[in-house]
Amino acid sequence: MDWITDWGLTLVVFLPALGAVFMALTPKGRDSTIKFWALVFTGLPLLVGLLMLGRYQYSDGGFQFETNLRWIPSIDANYHIGVDGIALPMVMLSLLVTFLCVIYSCWHLPEPHNPKLFLALCLLLETGMTGTFVALDLVLFFIFWEVVLVPMYFIIGLWGGPRREYAAIKFFLYTFFGSVFMLLGFLALYFQSDPHTFDIVLLQQAGVLSMTKTAANLIFAGIALGLAIKVPMWPFHTWLPDAHTEAPTVGSVLLAAVLLKMGTYGFVRIAIPILPDAARTFAPFIGALAAIAIIYGALNCLAQVDLKRMIAFSSVGHMGFVMLGIATMTDVGINAAVFGMVAHGVITGMLFFIAGSIHERYHTRDIPELGGLVLKMPVMGGLLAYSAIASLGLPGLAGFWGEVTALLASYNPLEGLDLTWFRTFMVLGGIGTVLTAGYFLWMLQRVNLGKVPAQWQDKNFADAQPLELAAWVPLLALILILGVFPKLILDVTNPAVVELTQLLTR
């Protein structure tokens, strides 16, 4: 079965796009056929992904399942893909979450009813996301990066809430605005490298790039801006609450669980290893923005009335922890970041699922209007509490390890980085964990606990349904399993992270 080694990754990336074609050919209205194709074409990549897990060499920190074909010779752009221990968890996360989103969609589709277009867009999105995580060529990376924008733009714009158009355009243009600078950076890297290349692996090698410090800093700033908007880092995060609030449930889940990670992944894959010296210059600023994000995100959460908007702001804080880990530029910090990305993906994805299902039943997400939800729906309420407690970083659940190790790393960042600053960030992060606990527990108190308000007393809400649970159980299980056995992720990431950090200290 050598085809997995050679073509597994390509299959994983393009099977969903092929599925979208199949669905385009299916006549409209045949909903069950369409759902079937969607399940098949998200299930198959997941299956291939699992098979790849079986063949992956875990102790090897380099790239595996590599394919490198000439693609656009005139600009030296190659179809170069591969995964290492940093990309692999991201790819698996994308495959799993998209599959679960399709399962969830089999239970519930947002209005206006158009499963064909909706699911086809989800599949296209999957191709873009996994493509971004496996691309080892800057042109390829950029194309996948942009491919992601379009389906998400339509998902928000067509199936979103009342302010969907504003949110969709803001999402699209803000990210696009950032990508312009990122693209400029990529082009600059190409012209500054000798021989000219877009290859991410080559660009990381010593001596390929030669330029002045200022040029390197400018290029880093350009790329970092594009990535920072996607993460999103404070103060570039304002598109996020709008996009999340307006997006349909599945859109929010994909956005939180996967799309945001493209930004942080870009830092780890491209910006930092290719331009380590510039990264060192910028690290304290990134750390500072991250620390601000943690506190600022938490404070904003306290002020939210809309449940989904609160979860969106909580992402700002959590991605702050991830960026703080990255900013330390140490093996501990980057391991923390990758772990944090996966943990945030499963936990926040889960929270958005539940928020969507609550909205589906109550037709409101206003925290003060809800109340006594556990009395109405014990399972749903229990899962909300479980996910919220995971998100506030309880040890033994997944959220803890990413945060605690990020803080641990910022106690002792890469040599040469300012200790005082990073320890200040650590303290701010610590305060952030208290605030995070505060807003989640306060939310739980108002949503889950207390007596059932008069307006809901006579209503009958169906507790979590089988298809909902089918979509959630894998995430719920992962939250616990990764919390108890963080090794499962760290054994994958660590060899790759160690290789990466060797680039930073050379």
């Binding site: 969709a168 082009l187 391991n335 006594g372 309880l394 033994g396 641990l408 108190q445 090794k487």
Partner: protein
């Protein structure tokens, strides 16, 4: 792997080999109860009880095996671990356990009290809401607490530490239909979390100083003097911040009285005998670090001295019987903390042991009384001596043990602490004097409020509505634990008798410490007990020396106590409410009106520019030339219009022009 930890060369004794099951069994029971509890006859309680019986059944042989080894010179405890995770080049986090004298003492305390509470609750919680979930949370709590006790490294200890915290949150808020109960739960979680952040940073400091999380390894590295004093002081104070939160010491003690909102058996287990002593346990476990930093130890002692007196005074004026016990617990925990602070290591840990029995007894007894009169307030009790004979007798034993009656458990540990403080004081330590004086006053007050509590509850005339309330003794499931704990409240101290009979000091000691006995101090302690108890009896039973404090010149002090030194108001008014209501709203305001406004303005500007370009450049100039192209674009545009009505095209056009200019510029300047 950390090389400094010497794994026992020969294979571990069988029961030690499987000691990891002790925390695992109750944790597994949690899941069993959650998934299957409701379908069972006992609604899940039987799983919980079976789990804790198994944990206790394993703990007892572990205890005997370990104390049998403690005499041997080279024996530093059993340990066993597997790699939990690796990160970076060298850093390893283990998952493992370490068993020494301190561990086994704690194992017995946790398992036994947990068992008593599990049994007691079958009757006490009968018919209550969420009965099954209650047992699930108890099991998870027990598992986490045992993990905390057995952990061989600090991060694993932190996992247990936070685990017990969240169970405490769940159980305090058990009756969450009432908002004040869930408020109490949140308050408990957040207040302790503040300390936990310090604890976490303390772990970081030690990790980077010692390059390991392993407790034994850190201990050895500190003993060898490889870590500077500044670092040790920092680490010790940060760890102590965690202890202040968890063990409810000043100024983070405010959560514990509110935590009484939880069911009473929970208070007995979590908020008296086990979780709240985790802070003291942490200091004892990391004592090498504290001992190496005299400054840190002084802080520990002073905090203990302040807390014990402050809380004992509050215990004196409470009407709610559980709140008397809560403040008493804070005060007694402070006794332990202060003991460790003045170097009386064995005495401090010994007080964990004795306090667990008599305080669990008192809480469960209080539960039995509350069960009978349906009120927490002592103003609704009185004269219950005959209606509740077993509860009465056992409660009296508990009160006397708490008050420090010679011969009972509390006396011996309290005496050791007083002796330790006195010893430190006479060796020229000012802090020693502070602790000794504070501890003496506290001992007197303790005896006084114990007497007050006993007499107001069981003696005198009934104050409940005798026409409606007919108190009767609780069922055997509740009285049996009371009797067993009463036995321990009497005899539990006998293993720590002064002199050569002292077994406890052989199990738990720091360095070559001797258990000292000083007859004058013991006599002084007895005097404090007699005086305090007699005063309580005279004032609250006989009605002597009573005066209306609210009209006396001491009215201000009463007001101060009534308002709990205004600490709650301070925290709520200065920290919690401003952050929750004002700072957060201001942050959101800046988000909407500054950060987002910039983005919107940018969008509007681009849109304006696009429109203006379209009107002034595109239409008159370019359009003529490229009319054909434009028509096609327009067609596409029309199609796309179906999907949205925004102006993406304009923005995109402007942006692409921007790219072009920038690329050209970049190339030009290179």
């Amino acid at each position: 792997m950390v090389s400094t930890v010497k794994e026992t060369a020969e294979a571990l004794p069988g029961v030690i080999e499987i000691a990891w099951l002790i925390p695992v069994i109750p944790t597994v029971c949690f899941f069993l109860i959650v998934f299957f509890g409701k379908k069972l006859k006992g609604k899940g309680a039987e799983i919980g009880i079976a789990g804790i019986v198994a944990a206790l059944a394993l703990s007892i042989p572990v205890f005997f095996k370990t104390i049998g080894q403690l005499g041997h010179k080279d024996f530093h405890g059993y340990s066993k671990s597997v790699t939990w995770m690796e990160f970076g080049d060298k850093e390893v986090l283990e998952l493992g356990y370490r068993i020494d004298g301190l561990t086994v003492v704690m194992l017995l305390v946790v398992c036994f009290v947990a068992l008593m509470v599990h049994i007691y609750s079958t009757a006490y919680m009968k018919g209550e809401v969420r009965y099954t979930f209650y047992y699930a949370a108890l099991s998870l709590f027990t598992g986490s607490m045992l993990n905390l006790v057995l952990a061989n490294n600090l991060l694993q200890l932190l996992v247990g530490w936070e685990g017990v915290g969240v169970c405490s949150y769940l159980l305090i808020g058990h009756y969450w239909e009432e908002k004040e109960n869930s408020n109490a739960a949140i308050k408990a979680f957040l207040t302790t979390r503040i300390g936990d952040v310090g604890f976490m940073f303390g772990i970081f400091v030690l990790f980077f100083a010692a390059k390991t999380f392993n407790i034994q390894a850190i201990t050895e590295i500190v003993e060898e003097g490889h870590i500077s004093n500044t670092v040790l002081t920092t680490a010790a104070l940060l760890l102590f911040a965690g202890a202040i939160g968890k063990s409810a010491q000043f100024p983070l003690h405010v959560w514990l009285p509110d935590a009484m909102a939880g069911p009473t058996p929970v208070s007995a287990l979590i908020h008296a005998a086990t979780m709240v002593v985790a802070g003291v346990y942490l200091v004892a476990r990391m004592y090498t670090v504290f001992h190496a930093s005299p400054d840190a130890l002084q802080v520990v002692a002073i905090i203990g001295a302040i807390t014990m007196l402050m809380a004992a005074l509050l215990a004196l004026i409470q009407n709610d019987i559980k709140r008397v016990l809560a403040y008493s617990t804070i005060s007694q925990l402070a006794y332990m903390v202060a003991a460790l602070g003045v170097g009386a290591y064995t005495a401090g840990v010994f007080h964990i042991w004795t306090h667990a029995w008599f305080k669990a007894l008192l809480f469960l007894g209080a539960g039995s009384v509350i069960h009978a009169v349906h009120s927490n307030n002592m103003s609704d009790m009185g004269g219950l001596k005959d209606q509740l004979p077993i509860t009465h007798k056992t409660y009296l034993i508990g009160c006397l043990a708490l008050a420090g009656m010679p011969g009972l458990a509390g006396f011996w540990s309290k005496d050791e602490i007083l002796t330790g403080a006195f010893d430190s004081a006479t060796h020229g330590s000012t802090v020693g004097w502070v602790v000794f004086i504070s501890a003496s006053l506290t001992a007197f007050l303790t005896a006084c409020y114990s007497a007050r509590m006993y007499f107001l509850t069981f003696r005198g005339n009934p104050k409940y509505d005798t026409s409606h309330v007919h108190p009767h003794e609780s069922p055997a499931a509740m009285t049996t634990p009371l009797i067993l704990l009463a036995v321990l409240a009497v005899a539990g101290g006998w293993i720590g008798l002064p002199g050569s009979w002292n077994q406890f000091a052989k199990w738990v000691h720091f360095g070559e410490e001797h258990a000292v006995f000083s007859f004058p101090v013991a006599a002084f302690g007895t005097l404090l007990f007699v005086g305090g108890f007699a005063l309580g009896w005279a004032m609250f039973h006989k009605g002597k020396f009573r005066f209306d404090i609210k009209k006396s010149p001491l009215a201000w002090s009463y007001k101060l106590l009534e308002n709990k030194y205004y600490l709650d108001d301070l925290y709520m008014g200065v920290i919690v409410r401003p952050i929750r209501d004002q700072v957060s709203r201001f942050a959101y305001w800046t988000n909407q009106n500054i950060l987002d406004a910039v983005v919107n303005a940018g969008g509007a500007a681009a849109l304006g520019l696009g429109k203006s370009l379209y009107k002034n450049v595109d239409q008159p100039v370019i359009d003529g030339a490229v009319n054909g192209t434009a028509r096609i674009t327009g067609k596409i545009g029309d199609t796309l219009k179906f999907f949205q009505t925004g102006n993406v095209q304009y923005y995109a056009a402007v942006l692409f022009i921007g790219i072009g200019i920038s690329v050209a510029g970049f190339l030009y300047f290179n």
